[in-house]
Amino acid sequence: MADDPITRLLGSARKLEIMQPWPRLEVDRSTWMAIGQHLGGGAGDLLSLWAEAGFVHLALRAAGLDHPCVLSLTIEHNAFPSVGQFHPPAIRLERAIQDLYGFIAEGAADTRPWLDHGAWGISAPLGRQTPAARRDPADYKFLPVKGSGLHQIPVGPIHAGIIEPGHFRFSVNGEIVARLEQRLGYVHKGIDGLLAGCDIDQGARVAARISGDSTVAYSFAYACAAEAALGIEVPPRARLLRGIMAELERVANHLGDIGAICNDASFVLAHAHCGILREQILASCDRAFGHRLMMDRVLPGGVATDLSRKAAADIVATLDGVAPRFAKIVSLYDETPSLQDRTCTTGIVDRSLAARWAAGGYVGRASGRNFDTRRDLPYPPYDGASLEIPVFERGDVDARVWVRIKEVEASIKLLKKWLAELPEGPVRIPLPPQSAPREGIALVEAFRGDVLIWMRIEGGKVMRAHARDASWFQWPLLEFAINGNIVADFPLCNKSFNCSYSGHDL
């Protein structure tokens, strides 16, 4: 075991025997603060921060720990010490806790509401639920920007394209962006609240709709967390079918993104071709699993639909058709100087920031962060699979495109391997009855990065659940990436991140 400060600090913490597969440790205020400081010093990755009645929980990963772990602190006087004061990636999560539970992060520099726009009619909807007067949504203090010749461009919540809503406040000097500040929360649907109290299958339907483009990944994470809590393992065929769906989702989304990024650089040809390829993958998913996005197909206990031999062959044929045509688009991307002129050196995310925010997916891997849940915290069917994880260093739009290109190629290879070795057998097992409270947690690699689901189950019901999208740690980096770039390059930078609004706003 490595001698890192977080591991040393947690050596004496009391382990609560309720959660699987990671340990959950009870910590006191001073340990909590010290952990926050060490996270700020770069000793570990923050995986999530959330609350429930009486407690605040922090999930982290450190080099010296065998597993990631969850630390729990008792709330005192409706407050807990801020982690964000030491480690900025926690700031927005703390603001969300304040909005949903009414718990104060003591010492936090930014205490503005985040998800609560003053429209719910109540404050602390998951806490004390006190009636609250409605506020004007425009009543929000953006950070001041000082200097001569600056003006502001407000964008959103409704954007020009067919995309999700959110507000971007640009402060610009001529064409150059001096600061971008995001304001999110417009699509807050109260997912954490909806998950509490529903039975496990009902909860799976909600989890599948946290972010529609990652429906397989969320269902996968939800299922893994539920199965960890119930102490069951799914049959081998179901494991592989989950992996197949997850990789198909990755390929489809990456194809869509690569095309859309080119489109934002006015290179419509690549967009048109990628659109056709994406469509072919989705149509094949529809024929194989009965849903184009494979929504509600991964369930606790296994998968909802088996894959016929004919459908498996159909997927292979589709992939065989897509691969050579994708290769042509890739060389087109690589050999078109006018397009490269837009994507190279645009929207650079510094590797130190990617590491500090523990940015997952292509955002992290384009900036030298060599992490992929499938390889580094493997779960079935990725345990034992040899995976090619592309990592680039430049951190620009181009690097984020290349991570996607390489991942499409790797996923197609993996899919063909799995489809060839699919074992026979059942695809779902019944969930065992469980009366005592149990908790499960899972981290799953969605196409845009790792998503986390934690839940407590009691008597067949989900008592409390928490979902953390990869976007929580990517959105803030977009604010950095656009600095010093021209306004016209924002769509390009934004699309190269393709963060989720719904997954973030919850």
């Binding site: 417009y186 609240g193 909806l194 709709r209 529609g212 869509g256």
Partner: protein
Amino acid sequence: MRTLLLQSLFTRPVTVDAPSPEEIALVELGNALKEQAQRLFGRSITIREVDAGSCNACELEIHALSNAVYDIERFGIKFAASPRHADVLLVTGPVTKNMKIALERAYAATPAPKWIVAVGDCACGCGVFSQSYATLGSVQSALPVDLQIRGCPPRPIDLLRGLLALMEQAVDPKPAT
């Protein structure tokens, strides 16, 4: 690039056939639409899409309408960036309370006469997010809805069918046979 363009010249189109008239669900259309549709729409409609709290799955499928396979513009239907250019607001999601004002403003900015199409189960009031402190529960609870296209999410072909129903009304107020 030249090779790719040249090849595309000689490949058959990937575009799907238009849904046949009997497939087009005219019954779903409200009466208000029938009266004025032909005169106002002529043969084209412009749509402003508004996400009022969807999970983004509906947006993905609405997006697909513009790809070469569905090619919605061949029917005279196009998407606009501003509600001021729109005849139709295509609204998805259960209408989160945080999006209510923005949605109402988009509606106010759309020149009359205008139509509201609710897309997806959430927008139609039967989605998983309807019973929450943070949502209104359906588009109908915020704006007068003229057409509902259900599905979670609706397939592009279902969206096409619904929107073509709107167009059919525009060209021929009688139900097609």
